[in-house]
Assembly symmetry: C2
Homo-oligomer: 414 residues x 2
C-alpha cells in the first residue's frame, strides 16, 4: 500500500532545504576515515574534520570554570566538595536560586532565566559601553534557534512576489539558505569582495537588491561578522554603510556576531558590534534600525557547542512584534537549562581577585592564542601551495581559499 | 518612522498561535503570588503552580543516578572522585567515548549520539518485546521539538482546502493547536468522552473527520496516552479502533506517549505503546500505519524538563520521507548533549547488582508513589467539592474536572 507521506505529499519547503555540511567533501572524508580504520595504509594516520566550527571535537580543552559551574548546578551535592573554588559555588548557587524548585530540571521562563538575561545585558553593556535592556534579550537553543525564529517570523504566507526577501552573503553559512528554504523566504545573494578581504560595498548591496526588484518583498539583511566562512572582520566604515543601506531600504538587520571573541589582530582589525556602531551614528540612524544581534556558547574561546546555549538581543523592535515572537517561543517551553547555565558562566566570567580568575585567564588566552596560531598557519600554508591563495584570517574560525585552476584543467572540464 | 516589521507585515501564522499556558488563571496566580510577597494576609502562604507538568518546580527531587551521570559527563575530573558509584562512572565514560573529542561540548550527529539512539532502541525492545531499529530513532530538544518537526513536515504550502488536516483531541495539550497554527495546518477536533473516562470512540473520530470533508487534506491524528490534560489510560480495544481508523483513512499517527511511566493503576488500567498494540494486530495492520512515538526526559519519575531531552521513534515511514526529515534536523545541528546524556541515563538505568540500583529504585518508586497519592488526593478532593466532578486520574499528571454551574449562575451570565 502507498504511504500516507511521500515526497509528493510532504512540505515542499522541507524538500528544498539544502544543507552543505553533508556534501561530497564530507562524504569523502568519512570514506577515508573508514579506510584508515580498516587498516589501509596512507601517508597520514587520522582525519581531522574542520568543516564545522566544532573545537572540542578537534581536541580543544574546555574552560574549567564553565564546567565547574555547570557540574555544580547539575549535582548540588558538589557544593560541599572542597576542590571546587568558591566563585564557582557562588555562581551555581545564584543560578540554582533562580531556578524553580532550585533545580535545573525545572522549566525556566520561555525566554530564559531572568538572572541569565540580566547577566547577558551586563555583558553587552560592558562590551559596548551602551545600556542594554535585559527584557530585549531572549535565550535560545544555540544561536541557531534564534536565527530560525527570526527568519520564520519575517516569512509571509505569500507566494511568488509576495515572499519575504532576505539578503545573505555569498559565501555564506548554510544555516541561512537552509532556513530561508524552510520558511519559503526569497534568498537575495550579495557577494563578498574577495579582492578586498571579503569586505562588502554599498554598491554591491544595491546591485543585489535592485536585481530582485518585483520578485519579493525585501525585509531583512543578514551580516556575519566576524565572517563565516570567510574569516574577515568588517571595518567600521563598511558597517556604517550597511546600516545606512538597511535603514534607507527598510530592512531589518540580523547581525550574526557569534565569533565576537574570535578576533586575532584586534589592534589592526578591531571588531565592534553593530549595536555600538549604530549608536555612534547618532539619532538620525540609532533609533531607526531594527537590529537582532546573535551570540552563542559554541564559539569564542569556550567552544561549548553541545550545550546549545545562545542569546539574541533585539533593538528598536515594535513591541507588538516582539510580543508575538516571545509568544511563539513560549510554545517550545524553554531553552535547555544547562545551556543557560553555561551561557551565564561565559557572560559572567571570573573577575580579578576571584579564585578562578587566573586559571580562567590562562585557559582562555591559551585557546585564543592557539586559534590565532592556527589561523596564521592555515593562511601561510594555503598561500604556499601552488595555484592556491587565501585572505588572512582576521577572525572567526575559517579560511576560504581560492583554487586557481590551470587553463588546461578548465578546458578539460568543459 | 514606521517599523519594517509590524503586525501587518510579519508571518500571520505566528500571530494565530495561541498558547494557553499564559491564560487568565495563570495571570491571577502570578498576581496573588505578588500580593503574598507584598505581605498581604491570606488563608494560605504560597502559590503552587500546577498548570504545567513541572515536577521539580513543585519540590520533586531529582534522581541521583541521572544527575551523577550528567555531572560526570560535564566535568570528567569527577571520575576520580570516590563518592560517585562505579556504574555512574562507567555510563559516563561510555557516553564521553561516544562524543567527538570525548567532550559534551562538541556537536553530536544531528539525530543524536549513536550510543544513545541504540540505548533508546534497547529500552523500547525491552518495553514492548518487539525489535526496535536504532536508525528509526532520532533525539530531539524535548519531545516538543519532535512534535514541531513532524507537524512542519506534513504541512503543505497550500491554502484553504489544500491545507494539511491534523486531528487532535479536545481537551488537548496546547502545543498541538499552537504548532498547527504555526505551520498553517487545519485543526480537526475530536472530542474525548468525559462520561467514559475520557476515552474516544471510532464513531467520534468518524464524525470529526466527516465534518471537515472538503475543507482540508487530512494527514495525521494525534493521540496523547496517558492523556494530557485528562489523565486517562486508553484501553487496548480503543487503541485498536484508533489504529484501524488511521489506516482506513490514511492518516499518520503521532503517539504522544511521554507519560508512559506515569501509570497509577497498572493492573486495572495497563498502558501499552501504540507500537505494541499495532504489532499484535498482525500483518493486515502492522506494516501499514506510519507511526511516530514520542518520549521525553521531562515526565515519568525523573521530571527532568530543563534538560530538554526526548526522542521520537518512526515506524513504517517511506525512507525518502524519513531522509527529508533527517536532513531538516541537520540544519539545527544537534539536540543538547546534556539532554542526550540524561536521556541515556533514563533509558539505561541501573541494573540489579549495580551499586546505584537500590537507591535508584527507592527514589523512582518514591516519586511514582507520591504522584499516585497526589492523583488520588486530587480526584477525591475535586469530587468532594459541591458542584465539581472529576474522572479518576489513571495516568499522566493532570486532572480535568467538570464544574457544574448552578442554573441561576448560567442565567445570570446570560
Amino acid at each position: 500500500m502507498d504511504k500516507v507521506l511521500t515526497l509528493d505529499s510532504i512540505n515542499p519547503n522541507m524538500i528544498k532545504i539544502e544543507y552543505a555540511v553533508r556534501g561530497p567533501i564530507v562524504e569523502r572524508a568519512l570514506q577515508i576515515e573508514k579506510e584508515l580504520r580498516n587498516g589501509d595504509k596512507k601517508s597520514f594516520g587520522e582525519v581531522v574534520k574542520c568543516n564545522i566550527g566544532d573545537c572540542h571535537a578537534t581536541g580543544q580543552k574546555c574552560i574549567t570554570f564553565v564546567r565547574q559551574v555547570t557540574a555544580l548546578a547539575t549535582f548540588p551535592h558538589l557544593l560541599e566538595n572542597k576542590s571546587f573554588p568558591e566563585d564557582t559555588k557562588s555562581r551555581a548557587k545564584d543560578l540554582l536560586a533562580a531556578c524553580s524548585g532550585s533545580s535545573v530540571g525545572s522549566y525556566s521562563h520561555s525566554l530564559g532565566l531572568e538572572v541569565v538575561r540580566r547577566d547577558v545585558s551586563k555583558y553587552i553593556h560592558q562590551r559596548d559601553g551602551i545600556e542594554s535592556n535585559w527584557e530585549n534579550i531572549f535565550l535560545a537553543c544555540g544561536a541557531t534557534e534564534a536565527v530560525k525564529m527570526l527568519l520564520e517570523m519575517i516569512s509571509t504566507t505569500g507566494r511568488d512576489s509576495e515572499r519575504a526577501g532576505v539578503m545573505i552573503p555569498i559565501p555564506q553559512y548554510p544555516l541561512y539558505s537552509a532556513t530561508n528554504s524552510e520558511y519559503n523566504n526569497f534568498q537575495i545573494n550579495y557577494y563578498l569582495d574577495e579582492s578586498d578581504n571579503w569586505s562588502l560595498s554599498a554598491d554591491e548591496l544595491k546591485r543585489a537588491l535592485t536585481s530582485v526588484k518585483g520578485q519579493c518583498i525585501p525585509k531583512a539583511i543578514v551580516i556575519i561578522n566576524p565572517g563565516n566562512p570567510t574569516g574577515q572582520v568588517l571595518p567600521q566604515k563598511c558597517m556604517e554603510d550597511i546600516i545606512k543601506f538597511a535603514v534607507d531600504n527598510r530592512l531589518m538587520l540580523i547581525a550574526d556576531e557569534v565569533y565576537q571573541q574570535n578576533v586575532y589582530q584586534p589592534d589592526k582589525y578591531p571588531w565592534a558590534s553593530f549595536k555600538k556602531v549604530l549608536s555612534n551614528m547618532g539619532p538620525s540612524y540609532s533609533g531607526k534600525l531594527e537590529l537582532a544581534s546573535l551570540m552563542s556558547c559554541s564559539k569564542g574561546y569556550m567552544g561549548e557547542c553541545g550545550y546549545r546555549g545562545g542569546y539574541c538581543e533585539l533593538l528598536n523592535f515594535d513591541p507588538a512584534v516582539q510580543a508575538q515572537l516571545y509568544k511563539a517561543l513560549s510554545a517550545r517551553l524553554c531553552p535547555p537549562l544547562m545551556g543557560q547555565v553555561a551561557l551565564d558562566a561565559i557572560v559572567n566570567p571570573p573577575r580579578p581577585g576571584e579564585p578562578s580568575y587566573s586559571l580562567f585567564v590562562k585557559e582562555r588566552d591559551d585557546v585564543l592564542s592557539a586559534l590565532k596560531d592556527k589561523a596564521d598557519i592555515t593562511y601561510s600554508a594555503l598561500n604556499s601551495m601552488p595555484n592556491m591563495s587565501c585572505n588572512p584570517v582576521q577572525g572567526a574560525m575559517y579560511a576560504f581559499p581560492r583554487i586557481h585552476l590551470p587553463p588546461k584543467a578548465i578546458q578539460e572540464a568543459k
